[in-house]
């Protein structure tokens, strides 16, 4: 007779594997892609229910029909588990509407939380679906007709199988996160608006994440229900999701091993350790204190160790050993930034510019572009034309609507009226990522680096049409995208060398000085291979010497056929590099011409130049 401890151990194996699998899935969503799925538990739950009703006989015939449920197809293993995973993926689809780019991450999270509470209420009260509040019981275990599920051998085999599946999931998810696609997911996590402006399809990326995460979560639910043979609404209150979040935060968001460690430390250990506390006079005390502990864990870890026990791993693309990674110190100020062999860079090759005939035609134009907020018009009826191969300047006093205009050109802000034409085509209806993919790329006035990507990753993430930058590309593995990625890294390294920042290739971009970050941003925009580059105050915070060196390169790029539209306050930059210059004032085009012409224009001088 095997001891009770052996059975207990087998149970622990199954629970540990299920928790680890769930945490891996949630970590993909939250830790890597930045999708805060506060309704995560419903994905695990739908897997448990679907696996149960697919494996159970029809409701009327089972055990005298005391339970009510749908389906009851009596399917053999592994069909119920496959069905469960599919259901988990399908359940993600309605949430596509919530996780688009227009909604703040915390609002989307609230939506998911509410969806979880809502589904719990519905399942609890609508008995015909999954037997209501009482839940489903006597769920058949896989192979129970030929192998006794109560036997110790079966239980250990079940635990072993659960662990094997968890390992499979681990490698599968790793395949995604270590690919260029994983890089795009992390870029989205760090700054979604910027990722969007570089051509990443946020809605698609988030949907893929939720579908994959949902499938894995559902599989974990299926494994659990096959073992414990019952599932009821009480097991998946919305707060269970918070336990898994606590696990990820404790273990380390953005690190698969951290997610597994968190699963073993938080849900598993908390459940199991407290089993051994002797019963107290107040039976609610232990569970209550458990919840208090979960809450405290979250708060204390986020304060004292926000990266968790196993922080996200730095991805060193340059090939250096981790010891040699150089991190910027406060000591090297912008004034000391030394540009490298910038003049020797072959932009045409490096940026894959191709053969462009520089014919000065109108490449980007607007017709009556207008924007109003709250009934206040900030950009009014702006019609401008930007010529190919020129560096066009956009100036105007504060509040003139320069940045708003630029944002409407790039599609970051929807316009209230008017049209934008790019290469003769009306692109007013296109989203910013679509415009970026056409070759209309912008930079931002505020710091916009992907903080927890290295400098090199920041640059490479912008390169368009990477074969590993899609779900299926990632699934095909490194053999499929590895050599191309290596070339991309080399291109980014060469550019980095030109700007004199190659020593910081593997430093996190968030740790750079202000001026260095601007350089990274400009390089990143260039690697997005723009036809038209929209720069929003690229020289703000950059040392004047450096600014002029960058200006020289922009001129060189324009001579090579790239078109540049630059918002800038610094008039010396305009004088030196921009022709023509467009003046905006109070949301309207005031004048246009060379700087010399503008200085002679009394309206402009009055509105801006002396002002």
């Amino acid at each position: 007779m095997p001891s009770a401890y052996a059975f207990y151990l087998a149970t622990i194996l199954v629970y540990g594997a299920v928790d680890a699998m769930a945490c891996l899935a949630l970590n993909l969503e939250f830790g890597f892609a930045g999708v805060s799925n506060f309704g995560f538990i419903i994905f695990q739950s739908v897997g448990a229910y679907v696996a149960a009703v697919l494996s159970m006989p029809a409701a009327a015939t089972s055990n005298g029909g005391f339970q009510a449920y749908v389906l009851g197809w009596n399917l053999p293993w592994p069909l119920p588990w496959i069905g469960a995973a599919l259901a988990g993926g399908l359940l993600a689809l309605p949430f596509v509407f919530l996780v688009g780019k227009r909604l703040r991450g915390d609002f989307a999270a609230i939506g998911l939380l509410v969806a979880a509470v809502l589904l719990n209420v519905l399942v609890k009260n609508y008995v015909p679906l999954f037997n209501g509040d009482a839940g489903i019981s006597i769920v058949p275990a896989p192979f129970q007709s030929i192998w006794n599920p109560q036997g110790l051998g079966y239980q250990f085999a079940y635990g072993g199988a659960a662990i094997v599946l968890t390992v499979v999931v681990y490698f599968l998810l790793k395949r995604i996160t270590e690919s260029p696609y994983g890089r795009s997911l992390r870029a989205m996590r760090d700054n979604d608006i910027v990722a969007d402006s570089l051509g990443k399809n946020l809605r698609l990326q988030r949907t893929v994440t939720l579908v994959v995460g949902g499938m894995v979560a559902a599989l974990s639910g299926a494994i659990l229900v096959g073992f414990i043979s019952l599932w009821a609404p009480g097991a998946w209150g919305y707060a269970e999701t918070i336990v898994l979040f606590a696990a990820i935060i404790v273990g380390g968001a953005g690190n698969h091993k951290g997610a597994i460690l968190g699963a073993l430390l938080v849900p598993l250990a908390f459940e199991e350790v407290t089993r051994f506390i002797p019963p107290l006079s107040n039976p609610a005390l232990v569970p209550a204190l458990q919840w208090v502990a979960i809450g405290l864990l979250i708060i204390l870890f986020l304060w004292f160790r926000p990266d968790g026990i196993l922080p996200e791993r730095r991805r060193i693309l340059s090939g250096k050993s981790p010891k040699d990674v150089q991190v910027p110190t406060g000591a090297d100020s912008d004034a000391l930034v030394k540009l490298g062999n910038l003049d020797e860079l072959n932009f045409r090759e490096l940026l894959r510019l191709g053969e462009v005939t520089n014919d000065q035609r109108v490449i980007l134009s607007t017709q009556g572009l207008t924007k109003s907020f709250h009934g206040v018009t900030v950009v009014s009826d702006v019609s401008i034309a930007v010529h190919q191969g020129r560096v066009t300047g956009l100036i105007g006093p504060n509040g003139a609507g320069k940045s708003t205009t630029l944002a409407m050109l790039a599609g970051t802000l929807p316009s209230s009226g008017g049209q934008v034409f790019f290469e003769g085509r009306d692109i007013s209806g296109l989203a910013s990522n679509q415009r970026a993919n056409l070759g209309l790329v912008r930079t931002f006035q505020l710091a916009s680096e992907f903080k927890k990507l290295t400098v090199l990753e920041n640059l490479v993430s912008a390169i368009p049409e990477q074969s590993g930058d899609s779900f299926w590309g990632a699934m095909r593995g490194r053999r499929f995208w590895g050599s191309e990625d290596k070339q991309n890294v080399e291109r980014a390294m060469e550019l980095l060398g030109g700007f004199g920042l190659e020593q910081y290739a593997d430093a996190y971009a968030g740790g750079l000085s202000g001026g260095q970050r601007r350089l990274v941003e400009i390089m990143r925009a260039l690697l997005a291979e723009p036809k038209v580059l929209l720069l929003d105050e690229p020289m703000a915070g950059v040392h004047p010497n450096l600014a002029h060196k960058i200006g020289d390169q922009l001129t060189r790029l324009a001579e090579g056929g790239m078109t540049i539209l630059m918002v800038e306050h610094e008039l010396s930059i305009m004088d030196a590099f921009c022709d023509p210059v467009i003046v905006l004032a109070e949301g309207k085009v005031l004048a246009q011409g060379t700087m010399a012409e503008l200085r002679a224009n009394s309206d402009v001088v009055e509105a801006y130049l002396v002002g």
């Binding site: 979040f245 209550a288 907020f373």
Partner: protein, 286 residues
Amino acid sequence: MSSFGFGLITAAVLAIAAVGFTMQFAVTNVLNLAYGSVMINSAFVSYYLNVHGVAPWVSLFGGVATGAVVSWALNRFIFTPFQRRNLAPITVVIVALGVDLVGTFGLQAVVGGGYVSFRQSPGTEFHVLGMYLSGLQLIILAICVVVLGMVHWLLKYTRLGKAMRATSANPNLARNSGVKVQWVISTTWLISGALCGLAGTVFAMNTGVFEATSAQLYVVLLLAATFLGGPGEPYGAMFGALTIGLATEISAAYISPQYKEVIAFVVLLGMLTFRPYGIFGSEKTL
């Protein structure tokens, strides 16, 4: 018609709560998911005063004070320090969830899991405009009207109210225009906390019996009311509360009481998906 009466009371309590919740969001950009736990803790303080011989309507002030002090402290010692670290808004929301667990279950650990109720009689029943309302419910309605009137006066006619609206619209601009933003934020949390404590106590009185986790799902109603009117908009929250309060009670009467909150969930999901800035709001408010 009686469900309309119930709806009115639910709406009244919800309005007080939602105005406090939305004010906190307005000045600090925090969706304070720990709001429900502060409500129920305040209710328990009132309840213990009541048990020790204080008249229910006097004990109410204990709840109001608790809500004010606890909310102020939460903002001062937890939310503000986290926000200073320049984290994503979601981090603060997760922290708020953690605080909610600590608040709710810490209370449960102290008071136990049993149901309690205030020592008071519901009062004589009145028959008003076809609705049957107890004396207690009429008092709750009166409190709601008075309190919302005070909020209106505060927002429209006082310097503090103007400063709050300025801080909500653009904290940096407000600071540069000489508004003492930190002071405004602290005061707002004190006032909104008082509303939270008041709402918690009248919620508990109106429910009759309550326990430590009774307000756990209340936050969903709050969010529904808040998002219906547009987050950060006190008048929107009042409108949202009236709509959600009536809708839940009327649907309870005509569909099924088990599903009465469902309409709130559906409204909230719909608003988040299609108009996250509220029925009256515009995009810029976010």
